[in-house]
Amino acid sequence: MAYTIKLDIFEGPLDLLLHLISKAKMDIKDISISDITQQYLDYLGEMKKFDIEIASEFLVMASTLVYIKSCNLVPRKKHSTDEDNVEDDEIDSREKLVQKLIEYKQYKEVGEKLRKREIIYSNVYYKQPEDISLDGIEDNLLYGLTKYDLFKALEKVLSLKEDNHHSDETKEHVVRQDTLTLQERSYQIKCLLNRRSRLSFFALFEEHYSKTDVIVTFLALLNMIKENQVELYQEKPFDDIIITKKRG
């Protein structure tokens, strides 16, 4: 679709006008309304030829331009209050348009500067917060919270998930730490041992686990041995390790 390409180039009638002005190497404050009007209309005609839907804002601007241009052409007579108004109006409209163009141009330029900053700062990365568990802060975990807080919390989570891909774009890149902690792993093993008397070390990795997870699991087991919670034995080197709950 050709038209989206063309329309994307110009963000609106002011954008188009600025383009035409700079193409004609005119000074904004000193634009030739009749020249610019002609070019503007030509451009709209071009759009029409390509069957492009012309946004109403472009047409409004066209009529403003034509109006200012026509005022220039009308011979001015003095002593008539009506025509005085027309003249004032004409100067006024032209002046207003110039002001608008100047103001818009400034923001357009700032927009370009912001683009440069956007590119630089999209390459700045942050890190994930450290996961430090402190004793004692789990008390009063949910103090004073009601069922509505619960409801709101879920709503928020779900809506976050919905525009996950959106927020991912705007938020800074976050690097995820995806490992089990020692504490979590110990807990899992304890739960499993409550259900079965013997566990196979290998069987602890039925789901896909990373190398770090294996190390964590091993450390968790060592810790549990130290705390007299489990016993391990191995038939021969490189064989499976059997984990049992320590009695007593």
């Binding site: 100047i102 923001y107 927009g111 683009r115 700062y121 390459n123 990365y125 525009d163 800074e172």
Partner: protein, 168 residues
């Protein structure tokens, strides 16, 4: 003291407020501010690999963009969608003119922008700051901290000056 703050910023990962720094160090906020200003230039002066980014009175440790090429070798760069030209223009208008109504933005840009505004709101780059005390009580928009961070500005005053006075 800087070493302590370095540890705190590292552990936090996220932005840390001046108040939190002052409290952790048991110093006044103004002393903390001086320390942080010092620390930022120190990191720059010593050409450290990392930098400290300041957004309003929040501080965060971050990588430097010039090393992004290497970082991307190490972690998967997530493709971030760039803002459109129209969105940037609109943001610029809001940034300089805040608080501002949709109508005023549209007058300046010469085109409708409701869609754009809702995109910018969704992205968290702008927010509704108030309502105008006028018929219909139109919403007044302003920029957010995320806006500052997104463009690496430490405060709204860091925007390039506009010479509007010259023209108005």
């Amino acid at each position: 003291m800087m070493a302590i703050v370095e540890n705190i910023l590292f552990v936090s990962g996220e932005a840390v407020t001046l108040g939190e720094i002052a409290k952790a160090l048991d110093i006044s906020k103004s002393a903390a501010k001086k320390l942080m200003d010092n620390m930022i230039s120190c990191f720059d002066f010593e050409r450290r690999g990392l930098q400290i980014i300041k957004v309003n009175e929040n501080y965060q440790m971050a990588t430097r963009s010039q090393y992004s090429e290497y970082i991307h070798k190490f972690i998967e760069p997530r493709q971030r969608e760039r803002l459109s030209k129209a969105a940037l223009e609109t943001l610029a208008i809001i940034a300089y003119r805040q608080p501002i109504t949709r109508m005023d933005i549209e007058t300046i840009r010469g085109v409708k922008c409701d869609n754009l505004l809702s995109t910018l709101l969704d992205k968290g780059l702008i927010r509704e700051v108030d309502r105008l005390d006028a018929p219909g009580r139109p919403i007044l928009y302003g920029t957010t901290e995320l806006f500052l961070k997104y463009f690496g500005l430490s405060s709204i005053d860091e925007l390039p000056p506009l010479d509007l006075d010259k023209h108005e």
